[in-house]
C-alpha cells in the first residue's frame, strides 16, 4: 500500500475545519456601518418564500378572453414594471402563452408590513384610467376612513369614454394649495402626449371645450377618483387629478398610470401567501434539527467505527461545508441559490446518507481485518473493493436529484409539455441532494481515504481494534 505521510492527516483535517468554519459563518468585516462580505456564510443565504414569507399568484384573462401572445407579453411587462416600482426586485415572473396564464412569485421586502392580498390585487389590477362625462355611478361605499367611494359607472357615464390612459405621457404625484382655504392636498399630475395618433394634448383640449362648465369624471378601473367641473379649456396638455389622496395614494396612483393599463382584465386563478413569521420559526427549527442530527450521527459513527468513524465525522463536516458553500455563493463561480425548507431537509438528509460511503469503506476494512489481513492490507483492499459500490449507489441519487430539479424547477424541458411554473420549494431539495452527493464523493472518498492512510502511519494508532478488528489484536 502506498503510504501517505503522517502530517497529511493534520493538513487535510485542518483545511476541512477551516473551510467548513468559513463556509458556515462566512467572513465579513465592518468599516463603519458598511459590512463587507469576503466569504459568504449561512447568514448570506437567500431564503425562499416559504422561509422569508411571500406571495405566489397565477393570473389569467377574466371571462372568455383569448389573449394574443403580444397581449400576454405586454401584460407581463406591465406587471413587471409595477413590481419594480413597488420596490420588489427579487421576483419570478412567467407568461405561459399556451394556457394564457401569468405566474408570479415574490418574497416580502424586509421589515415591511405588506398585506399579501392587497399586494396581489395591486399588481393584477387592470389600471384602466378613463375620463368619462358626468358622474353617474351605481354604488356608494364608505371606506375604512369614513370617506365615500363611488363605484361602477352608470348611464351616460358608463357608455362614453372620452379619453383613456394611453393618451397619457407620464404621471407624477404633486401637491397643490387651495387658493381660498389655504389647505394643502396631494394630487396626481398628468402630462398628456402631444404627438402621434394618441395625441392627448389635442384630445384633452377638445374635451374641455366640449364639456366646458360640465362635470367630467376620472376613473381608475371601477372606482371614481374625482369628478371636477371643467372651468376652462385646457390646451397645454396638463391635467390634474385631485381626490383627497394621501401622499402615498397619490404616489401609487401615479406609478400605476405610468406602468400603463393591462390589455385585458386579469383574474387571480391561483394564489398562495406565507407570512414571514411562520417562515422564521421554521428556519430556527430546521437549524436545531441540523445540529442535533449532525451530533447524533457523529456519535453513532465514532461508536461503531472508532478511528474510521472519527475520520468520517471530519469529512462529513467538510461535506456539509461544501454543500452550504454551494448554496450560499461562497465560491464566486457558483451564484447563490434560493434555499427553502425542503432544501434544508435535503441538506440534513444528506448528512445521514453522506456517511454511506464511509460506512461501506469502514465495513469493508473491518471485514478484511476479520479475514486475518494485516492492517495495511485491509486498508488497501477495503478502500479498493468498496469504490464501485459507492459510485453505482451515488449515480442513482444523482439521477433522482436531477429529475427533482426538472419537475419543480423553473423553465425546463418538462415545461414545454406542462406549461411554465414558478420554482417550487422542492426544487432546492433536488439541488441540495445533488450537491450533497457530489460533496460526499469528494470528501467521503477522496479526503477520507487520504486521512485514513495517513493516520495508519502513526505507531500508537496502528491497532486493529481502532479500525474495527478484535480487541486483542
Amino acid at each position: 500500500m502506498k503510504r501517505v505521510p503522517k502530517p497529511v492527516f493534520f493538513v487535510v483535517a485542518l483545511l476541512i475545519l477551516a473551510f467548513s468554519f468559513t463556509a458556515i459563518f462566512g467572513i465579513s468585516y465592518y468599516t463603519g456601518d458598511n459590512k463587507t462580505t469576503v466569504l459568504k456564510g449561512i447568514s448570506d443565504i437567500r431564503w425562499g418564500i416559504d422561509i422569508r414569507g411571500g406571495v405566489e399568484a397565477t393570473f389569467k384573462p377574466a371571462g372568455d378572453v383569448d389573449a394574443t401572445d403580444e397581449q400576454l407579453e405586454s401584460a407581463k411587462s406591465i406587471i413587471e414594471l409595477r413590481m419594480v416600482s413597488q420596490g420588489i426586485t427579487d421576483y419570478e415572473l412567467y407568461a405561459d402563452a399556451k394556457s394564457d396564464r401569468i405566474i408570479v412569485r415574490f418574497p416580502w421586502k424586509e421589515d415591511s408590513d405588506q398585506n399579501a392580498v392587497e399586494a396581489i390585487e395591486e399588481i393584477s389590477s387592470t389600471a384602466q384610467l378613463t375620463f368619462r362625462p358626468g358622474d353617474g355611478h351605481e354604488t356608494t361605499d364608505i371606506d375604512s376612513n369614513g370617506e365615500y367611494v363611488y363605484k361602477t359607472p352608470s348611464g351616460d357615464t358608463a357608455k362614453t369614454i372620452l379619453m383613456d390612459g394611453s393618451y397619457v405621457e407620464s404621471a407624477s404625484a404633486g401637491m397643490t394649495t387651495d387658493k381660498t382655504t389655504g389647505k394643502n392636498s396631494y394630487v396626481v399630475q398628468l402630462k398628456l402626449k402631444s404627438s402621434g395618433d394618441k395625441n392627448g394634448k389635442e384630445r384633452f383640449a377638445d374635451i374641455t371645450k366640449e364639456y366646458l362648465n360640465q362635470q367630467v369624471s376620472i376613473w381608475m378601473d371601477d372606482i371614481m377618483l374625482s369628478a371636477p367641473k371643467v372651468e376652462a379649456e385646457i390646451t397645454d396638455g396638463n391635467a390634474v387629478i385631485s381626490g383627497d389622496f394621501t401622499a402615498k395614494e397619490a404616489q401609487d396612483l401615479a406609478s400605476k398610470i405610468n406602468a400603463g393599463a393591462l390589455p385585458f382584465q386579469l383574474e387571480t386563478s391561483n394564489y398562495g401567501t406565507i407570512s414571514a413569521t411562520l417562515g422564521e420559526n421554521s428556519l430556527i427549527a430546521m437549524a436545531y434539527a441540523g445540529v442535533i442530527a449532525f451530533i447524533l450521527i457523529a456519535i453513532i459513527m465514532i461508536l461503531f467505527y472508532r478511528l474510521p468513524g472519527f475520520v468520517a465525522v471530519i469529512s462529513l463536516l467538510g461535506q456539509m461545508g461544501l454543500a452550504i458553500a454551494a448554496v450560499s455563493g461562497y465560491f464566486p463561480v457558483f451564484s447563490s441559490f434560493t434555499m427553502t425548507l425542503p432544501g434544508i431537509a435535503g441538506l440534513i438528509l444528506s448528512i445521514g446518507m453522506g456517511v454511506d460511503c464511509n460506512v461501506i469503506t469502514a465495513e469493508r476494512i473491518k471485514e478484511e481485518l476479520k479475514a486475518g489481513r494485516t492492517l495495511d492490507g485491509a486498508l488497501e483492499r477495503g478502500t479498493k473493493n468498496s469504490l464501485s459500490a459507492i459510485i453505482d449507489g451515488n449515480m442513482t441519487v444523482i439521477i433522482v436529484s436531477i429529475i427533482l430539479m426538472l419537475v419543480f424547477g423553473p423553465a425546463n424541458i418538462l415545461s414545454i409539455i406542462f406549461g411554465e411554473s414558478t420554482t417550487g420549494t422542492i426544487y432546492s431539495f433536488g439541488y441540495t441532494l445533488l450537491v450533497g452527493v457530489i460533496a460526499n464523493f469528494i470528501m467521503g472518498v477522496f479526503c477520507t481515504r487520504i486521512m485514513l492512510r495517513s493516520v495508519a502511519g502513526f505507531k500508537f494508532l496502528r491497532k486493529k481494534w481502532l479500525f474495527g478488528g478484535a480487541k486483542n489484536d
Binding site: 397565477t58 396564464r101 399579501a116 392580498v117 396581489i120 390585487e121 387571480t268 386563478s269 391561483n270 394564489y271 398562495g272 401567501t273 406565507i274 413569521t277 411562520l278 420559526n281 421554521s282 430556527i284 427549527a285 430546521m286 434539527a289 442535533i292 442530527a293 447524533l296 450521527i297 453513532i300 459513527m301 425548507l341 425542503p342 431537509a345 440534513i348 438528509l349 445521514g352 446518507m353 454511506d356 460506512v359 461501506i360 465495513e363 476479520k370 486475518g372 473493493n385 464501485s388 453505482d392 449507489g393 442513482t396 441519487v397 439521477i399 433522482v400 436529484s401 429529475i403 427533482l404 419537475v407 418538462l414 409539455i417 406542462f418 417550487g424 420549494t425 422542492i426 431539495f429 441532494l433
Partner: protein, 341 residues
C-alpha cells in the same frame, strides 16, 4: 453429459454447506435470505392488502395542489371557543361548508393556529381572505389574528401539475432500471433491473399506503419523497448487486445463485442497516423538531420519508434479491431442460 464435464465434477466436488461457509465467510454463519422468501413476500403482501382495504374504506385524498381548492391558516393568541370561531368563519365566508382544524404551536410564538379548508375544488377570490382577516381582527381585537398561510389552486392547473409529477416519476424509474441493466450485465442485467423495479414499486406502494392510512392528502411532498426513495432504495439494491457480482467472481458461477446471494447479502447487511440507521436518525430528528414547532410542511415530508427508508432497506434485501434469485434459477433450469432435450 460428456466425459469432460464428469471428470471436472469429480475433481472439484461441490462444497458442502459447512465447507462453503468456512471457505467464503470465515466460518461465520450465512443468513438464509432466499430460504425465508415466503415469509418476506407474505409480510409485504399482507401490508399491501391491508393498504388496499384501507384505500377502499378511507379513499385517497388529493391535496389542493393537485385537486384544486383553497385553505387559509390564521394564528391567534389567547383562548377562543373553537366551535364559536368556526361558526363565525363559516358565516363570514361562504355558504358552502368549511372545515376547520386547530393546532397548538409548542415551541414557536404563533400561539394557536386555525386552518380553514373550503369545500369543492375551486380557487377562492382574494376578497374572501382579505375580508375574513379584517372581520376576525374586528371581532376579536385582543387575539392578534394574523394570516399565516393561504393557498388557492385552480383545479385544471392542479391536474396538470399532477401529470407533470407522475411523468417525472416514470422517467426516473425507467432511467434507473436502464442504469442497473447496463451496469450489472454480468449478473443478468435485465433481471437485476426489473427486480429492482419491483422493489421500487413495493416502496412506492408502502409510502402511498402510509398516506392512505394516516389520511394525509397526496401533495408535492409525496412526489418528492417517492423520487427520493426510488434513488435511496435502488442505492441499497445496487450495493447488494455489486457485492453479488464480486462474490460470483470469487465463488464461481457453478455455485447456486441463492447461495451466492445469501453470502453477499450477509456480508453487506451491516452496511445496509448502518446507512439506514444514520439516514433514519437524521430524518427522525427533522420530524421530531418539525412536530415540536408545528411545521406541517416539513412533517408531511419527513414522515413518509421515514417509512420509505425502512421499506427501501427491507425491499432491497428481502424482495429484490430473492426475486432475482428465483429468476436466475428459473433461467438455469430452462437452460438445463433445453440441453437435456
Amino acid at each position: 453429459m460428456t466425459d469432460k464435464t464428469q471428470t471436472k465434477a469429480v475433481s472439484k466436488a461441490p462444497l458442502t454447506d459447512e465447507e462453503f461457509v468456512n471457505k467464503y465467510n470465515g466460518g461465520r454463519k450465512i443468513i438464509d435470505f432466499v430460504g425465508h422468501k415466503k415469509i418476506f413476500f407474505g409480510i409485504s403482501l399482507a401490508i399491501i392488502i391491508i393498504g388496499i382495504i384501507c384505500n377502499f374504506i378511507f379513499g385517497t385524498q388529493l391535496d389542493i395542489q393537485f385537486s384544486g381548492g383553497a385553505t387559509l391558516k390564521f394564528s391567534y393568541s389567547g383562548e377562543i371557543n373553537q366551535s364559536e370561531l368556526t361558526d363565525f368563519i363559516q358565516v363570514e365566508t361562504t355558504e358552502d361548508r368549511i372545515t376547520t382544524t386547530y393546532a397548538q404551536d409548542l415551541m414557536g410564538d404563533s400561539g394557536t393556529t386555525v386552518t380553514v379548508q373550503f369545500s369543492g375544488n375551486d380557487s377562492i377570490k382574494t376578497d374572501i381572505q382579505k375580508n375574513l382577516e379584517s372581520d376576525l381582527q374586528k371581532k376579536y381585537p385582543d387575539n392578534n389574528f394574523k394570516c399565516l398561510e393561504s393557498n388557492s389552486v385552480d383545479a385544471s392547473m392542479g391536474f396538470s401539475f399532477l401529470l407533470k409529477c407522475l411523468t417525472a416519476v416514470a422517467i426516473a424509474a425507467v432511467l434507473m432500471v436502464l442504469y442497473v441493466t447496463i451496469r450489472f450485465k454480468k449478473i443478468g442485467g435485465l433481471s437485476a433491473g426489473v427486480m429492482a423495479l419491483v422493489a421500487l414499486f413495493h416502496d412506492v406502494a408502502m409510502i402511498y399506503f402510509m398516506y392512505v392510512i394516516f389520511q394525509m392528502p397526496i401533495d408535492a411532498s409525496f412526489i418528492a419523497v417517492v423520487l427520493m426513495i426510488l434513488g435511496y432504495s435502488l442505492n441499497d439494491t445496487i450495493v447488494i448487486y455489486d457485492r453479488v457480482r464480486e462474490e460470483k467472481k470469487l465463488v464461481g458461477s457453478k455455485t447456486d445463485v441463492g447461495k451466492i446471494f445469501n453470502l453477499s447479502c450477509t456480508k453487506c447487511i451491516k452496511r445496509t442497516i448502518m446507512t439506514s440507521v444514520t439516514t433514519l436518525s437524521a430524518i427522525l430528528v427533522v420530524y421530531v423538531v418539525a412536530c415540536a414547532f408545528n411545521i406541517t410542511s416539513v412533517q408531511g415530508f419527513a414522515l413518509p420519508m421515514i417509512i420509505g427508508i425502512i421499506s427501501g432497506c427491507y425491499s432491497s434485501i428481502c424482495i429484490a434479491g430473492p426475486l432475482w434469485v428465483m429468476w436466475q434459477r428459473h433461467k438455469k433450469a430452462k437452460k438445463l431442460a433445453a440441453k437435456a432435450a
